[in-house]
């Protein structure tokens, strides 16, 4: 990804290219038990999984659409193709990935990034992983990083059955149920006790087919005292039909283990991103979320941390950038369910050209979570008068032995600061982009360099032509 830093003019076409994958196997649009069975058969599910899917479909049919967030009328479920299998088998060799798919990922900088700074990479194209590879020295530590499908049949089958959709159940909400019914692709990671994976693992999701849904499932188990940094990247080209992303991420952080989960999401602006992420943290464990939301037409995204063990900790660092035609509803939830747990939430939201950015936070401190601490801070930046930025904090504190704080700030770019930067020879456009990047610094400084550069490029793309 570093290669991109030398390019001065970055435009969205970098993410917008697409190719027609005529040979791909697809199921029909819409959702019936027959389609779910067809997916299940196609994927050679174990029997329990097929049952699980059909049950989830029933739940899906019973549950209402959410009515409390951004409108999702544009999403006509009958038109969404739930399963698109690229015409290739998964490969551990980059050279075996079909040329056109390879070209897609190469343009996104995926293989270069792997060579440079990653311990392992997974690349998903539409519904299936097309490439998966882990460095030998990481595998030698007993670290498992594979696609979820093959894991369902292998050595870890039981572990998966025990954890799959136990944190996020199909009853959680309508799209969790949908996910349970039609999920495909995604990754399984297991880090054995005491193993520290020093360089990040990465997974990249690319949704190429028009009118399709992507429903990948990510299941990560970081065992006692282990450490992992997992990076997730997403993008898709723009079509004028709605695409849907309803992925699910379940993270299990063991005693004194630590997991950092970083995401830079850059879905195209016809995407409905209704993603569910949740982590459960045992005694002394740490979950760190780093989350950048740039793309999509509509997002509902609130990664949740359940602090289940004494002294468990959650940190959430996020940035959301809503431009023209975007309504991004993001935030985080924390449940303090044990004593001496702590949570720190630090988010920034930016809105521009009529974009709407809403930050929701929910902090629950249960009665048994004595001596717990929570600090939530949200800053918003509105780049013009037609854009909106809202903060909706919710707190439910059930013990008086907790230290809980919330802070929200809304601001604009100051003309004085723009002039100050311009007085040193920086153009107005760049001055504004610099100020916005600076504002997003809470996230970029938590990301590995290549990703921070990537994120600043995204900000620059969004800021292009922003001067009237």
């Amino acid at each position: 990804m570093k290669e991109k830093t030398q390019v001065n003019d970055i435009d969205r076409s970098m993410y917008d290219f697409r190719f027609e994958n005529k040979d791909a196997y697809k199921v029909h649009e819409g959702l019936t038990p027959a389609i779910v069975e067809q997916i299940s058969k196609e994927k050679k599910d174990p029997a329990w999984m097929e049952q699980f899917r059909l049950q989830a479909l029933q739940i899906y049919n019973q549950m209402p659409f959410p009515d409390w967030g951004p409108a999702i009328d544009g999403l006509q479920m009958d038109n969404i193709v739930t399963y698109v299998r690229p015409n290739t088998k998964m490969s551990a060799k980059w050279s075996e990935v079909p040329a056109e798919i390879k070209d897609t990922f190469e343009r996104l900088g995926i293989p270069q990034a792997e060579r440079k700074s990653l311990a392992g990479v997974g690349a998903q194209f539409d519904s299936e992983l097309v490439y998966h590879n882990v460095k030998a020295e990481v595998a030698a530590l007993g670290v498992v990083y594979t696609d979820l499908e093959s894991a369902l049949h292998g050595e870890y089958a039981e572990m998966i059955q025990k954890h799959f959709m136990k944190l996020v159940t199909p009853r959680d909400h309508k799209f969790a149920a949908l996910h349970g019914a039609v999920w495909s692709g995604g990754s399984f990671v297991y880090v054995p006790p005491g193993v520290s994976v020093e360089i990040p693992l990465q997974s990249y999701f690319r949704l190429n087919a028009p009118g399709a849904g992507q429903f990948e499932h990510t299941l990560i188990i970081v065992d006692e005292g282990a450490y992992l940094h997992f990076i997730e990247g997403c993008s898709a080209p723009k079509y004028n039909v709605a695409n849907l992303h309803a992925g699910c991420v379940e993270l299990y952080v063991g005693k004194n283990a630590k997991l950092r989960y970083s995401t830079i999401e850059n879905w195209s602006k016809n995407m409905y991103n209704l993603n569910t992420k949740r982590a459960k943290v045992e005694d002394g464990g740490v979950i760190e979320w780093v989350s950048g939301s740039f793309g999509s037409h509509v997002s509902y995204l609130y990664p949740m941390s359940i602090l289940a063990g004494k002294g468990a900790r959650a940190e959430f660092t996020g940035i959301t950038f809503a431009g023209k035609g975007q309504n991004l509803d993001t935030g985080t939830k924390v449940v303090h369910n044990a004593p001496e747990t702590s949570s720190y939430v630090n988010t920034r939201s930016i809105s521009k050209d009529g974009g709407i950015s809403t930050f929701r936070s929910s902090v629950v401190v249960n009665r048994n979570a004595e001596n717990s601490k929570s600090a939530v801070s949200c800053q918003s930046l509105m780049l013009d008068d037609i854009s909106r930025s809202d903060t909706i904090p919710a707190m439910d504190i059930r013990t008086n032995k907790a230290d809980v704080g919330h802070e929200a700030k809304i601001g604009r770019i100051s003309d004085e600061a723009v002039f100050y930067l311009m007085s040193r020879g920086i153009s107005e456009e760049d001055a504004r982009a610099m100020i916005v990047s600076g504002f997003a610094d809470n996230v970029s400084k938590e990301l590995p360099l290549e990703y921070a550069v990537e994120m600043n490029n995204l900000i620059r793309i969004e800021m292009k032509g922003s001067i009237g």
Binding site: E416, A417, M422, R424, S437, A440
Partner: protein, 248 residues
């Protein structure tokens, strides 16, 4: 007089629809050092902002000519690239951009070329040493949480790194202790080593000028130039104040 670098002709400037400068003339030759004095509220900073091109300061009449080119309608970045620099009376805090990255970006935009990191860091370190700045400030957010003195030093650091042909220093010495004024003054002398380096120093005190050669002094009051002279005028004002000029 040497080749004219800056020419301000009959400049009238409005701020928030109120006229602040009522027709100001000033010429600074290449390589010269001029001092601008005047009571508080006279319009000295306004003049600096107007020359730098702050859009909040509207020129209603007159021209600013730099290096033979009328820049009255140009944006601040164009003026900066042409060679004008303003050391702000109150430097702005910009979170999330380090001092070092900021200077490097500015240099790259001015030259249109990539600035090699290694050489840049070396030069930056040397300049910070001259200014007795803690090197850790290079990686701190631009002016954020800097003390008054540190902010002013950071301005002079930018001056040394960006090497403009004209530097307007707006009360860079105000609010600094004796040692800091001396350090800043050493920085200004360093800048003057380039024989084309020109200065317009806005100040209330003579301390910053002690070690500097001054070619001309101007007095601004109520948005008008009321006196001009050589270096000795600084001394006179220092001893007798502005009253004698105001009375005229």
């Amino acid at each position: 007089m040497s080749r004219k670098l800056l020419e301000i002709n009959g400049l009238k400037v409005n701020v928030a629809d109120k006229q602040i400068l009522h027709g100001v003339d000033l010429a600074v030759g290449s390589g010269e050092t001029h001092v601008l004095m005047g009571p508080n509220g006279a319009g000295k900073s306004t003049l600096g902002y107007a020359v730098m091109g702050d859009p909040r300061y509207t020129v209603t009449e007159g021209t600013v000519v730099f290096d033979g080119r009328d820049i009255t309608a140009e944006n601040a970045d164009v003026r900066a690239k042409a060679g004008i620099f303003l050391s702000f009376q109150n430097p702005i805090e910009v979170p999330g951009i380090s001092l070092s990255n900021f200077i490097r970006s500015a240099l790259e935009q001015r030259t249109g070329k990539r600035v090699k990191l290694w050489e840049f860091r070396k030069e930056l370190k040397a300049a910070m040493e001259i200014l007795e700045m803690d090197p850790a400030y290079a990686d701190r957010d631009l002016n954020v949480g800097f003390s008054g003195g540190e902010k002013k030093k950071a301005e002079i650091l930018q001056l040394l790194m960006l090497k403009p042909s004209l530097a307007i220093l707006d009360e860079t010495d105000s609010g600094l202790d004796v040692d800091a004024v001396r350090t800043v003054s050493v920085g200004i002398k360093e800048y003057q080593k380039n024989k084309n380096a020109s200065l317009l120093i806005i100040t209330h005190s003579t301390r910053i000028l002690e070690a500097l050669h001054v070619d001309a002094t101007h007095v601004l009051a109520d948005g008008q130039m009321i006196a001009s002279g050589d270096a000795s005028l600084v001394e006179e004002i220092n001893n007798h104040g502005f009253e004698q000029f105001l009375a005229r």
